[in-house]
């Protein structure tokens, strides 16, 4: 039995039945990480000893006839935006390079309680800000399908580690598309649940009203399995929804007959790569063949999604990231020593900068040194947009457009059950291709941000490949709390196709 070839569902069953031990399973993935991650950089930290000890404890408990959690022995990689008490949590930022949280995120706690084996923390864009993973302060993630290309972001490490078989399941976070877009570019399945479905406690905030945690795996069925553990109300998160957790895996079995899927003509307008368009149209055809009906719907305000998102998210980020001031934890500049120049990062302040006080100097220098350029750009955007005299024109207006976008979805879901379309306008782009053009980079989220603004769920899964052999992602969006339907539709598609089973050639 080769654990790397098994789905998460099968792995959990195999461990439970004793066909494979949790230690064997963990060792297999750790070995794969050793073999290939030097080329991919999916992990910022691999906890070899911790994972093996955990796996051994699960095996011992199984031998002793003790109870096993629903994810017993399943290796899971966790995006480094989620707090872990036994591993540093850096958000891929110099600011938190040595930060060890005193607690586990609620999601991590639930994973551990379900006997999952956390193998390490995955790379990401700094503070989850980016669409290519090139904003990591520590290492650039390479797309396993083509190492010269970006894996997408911000959950690029989580997507790449699943694509390259370094973990059967990873946890990501999605603020504007950060689970779905890298899932599409890496040829895996990623679910961004309805806002409030998964507790944000212990998720290092980027934009609190948009952030949502979700599973990334090879298949919708594997995502459903993980959702049963991580979803559910948490009294420690005021925005957590009080709903009971559906039996996502059992609900997969209902047929698709009569499913109405919406198609938005504007998704196929200028900017969509023709190869991606072809793959997406073929997926619509496949759904039709499976018994679904396709209907044209409109989301008239979706075109304002990117500008709206790039006001609301930076506004919240400018406040959420204020705590990184060098006073209590995280990076603190050495007093009076000036800036450390960071090659290629342009962190050096203007010569001759003067400060009001030693305190102001500590703040300015700590933040100048600790944050990368994209984080600084968004803090400045948000600070500006919230400033007196600009608030109404920017932030307040963005909130109004957000309500219109939400209303568009409510109207559309009167007519259809789900809305389908491309996840990303292109397949994986080359590393460096967009990194000097922030606006081009912001557009990679054009099909995904609206779900975050509306607070609804979305799932991305592979629906074909370009001629160059790069995966193409199909996105389904559903009304609030429609995750069972999203997972079922994606699972149905995956029972009829094998795109999700294709693996990149990344020899050991």
């Amino acid at each position: 039995m080769q654990p790397l070839d098994l789905s998460a569902v099968d792995l959990v069953a195999a461990v439970r039945q004793g066909d494979v031990s949790a230690v064997q399973c963990t060792e297999a993935f750790l070995k794969r990480i050793e073999q290939v991650d030097g080329r991919v950089n999916a992990f910022l930290k691999v906890d070899r000893e911790g994972a093996l000890a955990r796996a051994a404890a699960i095996d011992a408990r199984r031998k002793a006839g003790g109870p096993l959690g629903p994810l017993a022995g399943l290796p899971v990689a966790v995006k480094d935006v989620l707090c872990t008490a036994d591993m540093p949590t850096t958000c891929a930022s110099r600011m938190l390079e040595n930060f060890l949280p005193p607690y586990d995120a609620e999601v991590v706690r639930r994973l551990r309680a379900a006997d999952a084996v956390i193998v390490g923390k995955t790379n990401m864009d700094e503070f989850a800000m980016g669409g290519s993973n090139e904003n990591s302060a520590f290492a650039t993630v390479h797309n396993p399908w083509d190492l010269t290309r970006a894996p997408g972001g911000s959950s690029g490490g989580s997507a790449a580690c699943v694509a390259a078989d370094m973990a059967p399941v990873a946890i990501g976070s999605d603020t504007g598309g950060s689970i779905r877009q890298p899932a599409a570019l890496c040829g895996i399945t990623g679910l961004k649940p309805t806002y409030g479905t998964v507790s944000r406690r212990g998720l290092i905030a980027f934009a609190s009203s948009l952030d949502q945690i979700g599973p990334m795996a090879r298949s919708a069925a594997d995502c459903a399995l993980v959702m049963e553990t991580i979803a559910g109300h948490d009294a420690g998160d005021s925005t957590s929804l009080p709903h009971a957790v559906p039996r996502y895996t059992e609900l997969l079995e209902q047929p698709l007959t009569g499913l109405r899927i919406g198609r938005v003509a504007a998704h196929f307008a200028e900017g969509l790569d023709p190869e991606v368009a072809r793959g997406v149209e073929e997926a619509f055809a496949a759904f039709k063949a499976a018994g679904a009906t396709i209907h044209e719907v409109e989301l008239p305000h979706a075109k304002y999604g990117i500008p709206t998102y790039y006001l609301i998210a930076p506004c919240e980020a400018s406040s959420n990231l204020a705590r990184y001031d060098g006073a209590h934890y995280g990076h603190r500049a050495e007093p009076g020593k000036g800036h450390r120049a960071e090659p290629g990062k342009g962190h050096r302040a203007e010569p001759g900068t003067t400060f009001d006080s030693p305190l102001a100097e500590m703040y300015c220098r700590s933040r100048a040194e600790g944050f990368g350029p994209e984080v600084k750009r968004r803090i400045m955007l948000g600070t500006y947009a919230l400033s007196a005299g600009y608030y109404d024109a920017y932030y307040a207006k963005a909130l109004r457009v957000r309500r219109l976008i939400r209303q568009d979805y409510l109207d559309a879901f009167q007519q259809v059950d789900l809305i389908g379309g491309p996840t990303s306008a292109t397949a994986a782009f080359a590393l460096g291709e967009k990194s000097n053009d922030p606006l081009a980079m912001y557009l990679v989220d054009m099909y995904t941000v609206t779900a975050n603004l509306a607070g609804i769920g979305g799932i991305s899964f592979p629906c074909g490949f370009t001629k160059a052999g790069l995966p193409i992602g199909f996105q389904l969006q559903g009304p609030a709390l429609a995750e069972p339907l999203l997972l079922r539709a994606a699972d149905r598609y995956q029972r009829l196709t094998d795109w999700h089973l294709r693996r990149p050639k990344l020899p050991a």
Partner: protein, 500 residues
Amino acid sequence: MTTPTATAAPYTTIIGLEVHVQLQTRTKLFCGCSTRFGGPPNTQVCPTCLGLPGSLPVMNRHAFDLAVRAALALDCTIAPFTKWDRKNYFYPDLPKGYQISQYDLPFSSNGQLEVVDPKGAFARNVGIIRVHLEEDAGKSMHDEAAGTADTRIDLNRAGTPLCEIVTQPDLRSPQEARAWLNELKLLLVYLGVSDCNMQEGSLRVDANVNLHIPLAGEGGAEGRVAKTPIVEIKNMNSFRSVERALAYEAARQWEEWQATKAELGTTPKQTRGWDDPAGVTRAQRHKEESSDYRYFPDPDLVPVTVTAAEVAAARAAMGDPPTVLRKALEAKWKISAYDADVLVNQGRDLVAWFEELATLVGEGKVASNWMQQDVLRTLNERGGTIGEFPVTPAAVADIIGRVQKGDFDTSRGREIFAAVLASGRPVADVVAGMGIAAVSDDDLVALCRELLAANPKVVADVRGGKEQAAAGLIGQAKKKNPNVNPAKVRQICLDLIKGM
């Protein structure tokens, strides 16, 4: 610098107050940490109040309910829908880089609290613009010892629920401001909303003050009113400081007006700190960027709704505020407004003590006199609360009853009260131990005859129409027998002289 007296001042002092009170909750506003004062630094903290990455706030409903109680007592309207906003600024005692507060939709607004000077010097109804709830910051301790000038941060206080009460500029003198603050404190303590302990920082006051100066118009006609720039005063550590600082500031603004004629709107609002030992306010450094707090709704919290039924329940559970209680005591026990004020101002427990005493005595006025002249005086001397006072209302009522019966006079009663207080023994024991027994009328007459025989001048004076000369006999009577009733001695002597 001299302060012009209120009547002589050629201007009106306009004062508005901004008061912060910590609510008496066991736990903080957005986490479960203790709010106890005085713990070792940074021992009452958790990821949320430390502002650690990933931590989230969850509202303490008890704190919200207490704040609603305070707002209702201040006659405010409670908003059916309220939300939380972030006030963004950098400071080391603010670990998140923002304070969770309320900006454009405070939970309550538009109230009032009246203050009436019991001596009749003023009566002022002060409008409340708004009351909102927010989290307190931590404390910065600037350690300048040993030349290190280190700043140490204690975050025990960070996240403690704080009510901000903003008044209209309705106060017209420093004395009024102080009296109003006393009334506010009394109210909040009565309702169990806050202990209002200024030393521990659970009540803090900032004041806004300027002068309205009537100018003479053309040809002696009434002119316009000039307004001096508004100054905000900070760093006042007691109500007395508030009064002194406001008096100083009014006089300072008057002098400045005479020198500069600068009016409101010509300069940015100034903040001045009160230097208590020096007795002056000093300009604080003005930081332009500090004024833009970039408020926006806190996305980590959900809005709070308050139903009419919840407001009604809060109102019902509130208990009588001091204003109502004063009037009730006046009416029930037939005591003066001044007496009711003194009693009520001592707190709810003392009022209960008084009412028990008055009930036993069967009369309010005598009970009130004893409360003020004996109980309160000794309580003030001894310190402590009425709950710790060693003499019971029953014992005082016993003493009062004996005085009323004529066993001894009031001054002798006071000595007994003092002896009961000192010894802790029952009144009857003390009375017996002091050899106090009622003097029989026969004994009294014999004593008076003896005195008259020894004091022919007094007898002559009384006969000559000077009845008050008899008073000289009372002291002698008390020397011979300390238990005699002076009024009786006087009456018997007068009767004997008449019969001579």
